[in-house]
């Protein structure tokens, strides 16, 4: 079981709140938009989160100023 963060790029304006909350998995690109910190952290357009990040991820989903985030739980590793 792992959690995947889905970022809706039509909405995200790189306000950086999720990067703060999920600093272990996300980093900022030069324009301030979130991108996966680990090279293998991407999967079909989503960012794979470490297991212990679920609570922080829920908070990011709730507080993202552009409502651009969704959390998906998937069965694969």
């Amino acid at each position: 079981m792992s959690a995947e963060l889905e970022i809706d790029w039509t909405r995200c304006q790189g306000r950086g709140l999720c990067i703060e909350l999920l600093a272990a998995d996300l980093t900022s690109d030069p324009w301030g938009y979130p991108s996966a910190r680990r090279a293998d952290g991407h999967q079909s357009g989503t960012v794979i989160l470490a297991e212990d990040q679920r609570e922080a991820a829920n908070e990011a989903v709730k507080m993202c100023p552009l409502s651009a985030l969704k959390l998906r739980t998937s069965a694969h590793q």
């Binding site: 790189g14 306000r15 950086g16 030069p30 324009w31 507080m63 100023p65 409502s67």
Partner: protein
């Protein structure tokens, strides 16, 4: 009893003004996308939400205490329909208008994930209209409006919000605005 209600109304009105100004300032801060001083973007968002909800609570206290104060001659309908009041109807009506707008702004703010971003933004931006209306209401009908300290607080609030609004309109307001401008112009980083 009327005396007590009257002083509760004045105090809660004053606190509402401070909280509303604080809400606006932190909202503008959060919108820029910058970590500000020691405040992370997350903290700013939480502060913005907390200030605004506290403000709603104090405005409710303000309205309820005036309902209970017989001198204010307020009816329940005056809370929801502006300009019908007996006492300084115009200035009291401005209070009603800002109250209704505030409820709409706060509710759609809380429910924004279930509304379109457009609806949320559209309603949220009326905050810039609502704040001056609320300030005018306080100056126009407040018992304390003539006192020096009320004027000082109002003038400082206006100064801070004006400064923030001007900053909001400058080209470098958004974090990363310089690099994003380069990107739009096709420069590779």
């Amino acid at each position: 009893m009327d005396e007590l209600m009257w002083s509760v109304a004045r105090t809660s009105g004053m606190i509402s003004l401070l909280l509303l100004t604080g809400t606006l300032l932190v909202g503008i801060m959060a919108r820029s996308g910058r970590a500000f001083g020691g405040l992370s973007r997350y903290t700013q968002s939480l502060l913005h939400r907390s200030f605004s909800l506290l403000c709603v609570i104090f405005v409710m206290l303000h309205v309820l205490s005036l309902l209970a104060d017989s001198y204010a001659k307020m009816q329940i309908i005056d809370i929801f329909v502006p300009f019908l009041g007996d006492y300084r109807p115009f200035w009291q009506g401005l209070g009603t208008v800002s109250f209704l707008l505030m409820i709409a702004i706060a509710l759609t703010g809380l429910l924004r994930r279930h509304l379109g971003q457009r609806v949320f933004r559209g309603i949220h931006l009326t905050a810039y209209l609502m704040w001056p209306i609320a300030v005018a209401h306080g100056l126009g009908t407040g018992t304390d409006a003539g006192t020096l300290w009320y004027r000082i607080v109002t003038v400082i609030s206006i100064g801070l919000v004006l400064a923030a609004a001007i900053w909001r309109l400058t080209a470098n307001y958004l974090d990363h605005s310089a690099t994003r401008r380069l990107a739009r112009e096709g420069v590779k980083l």
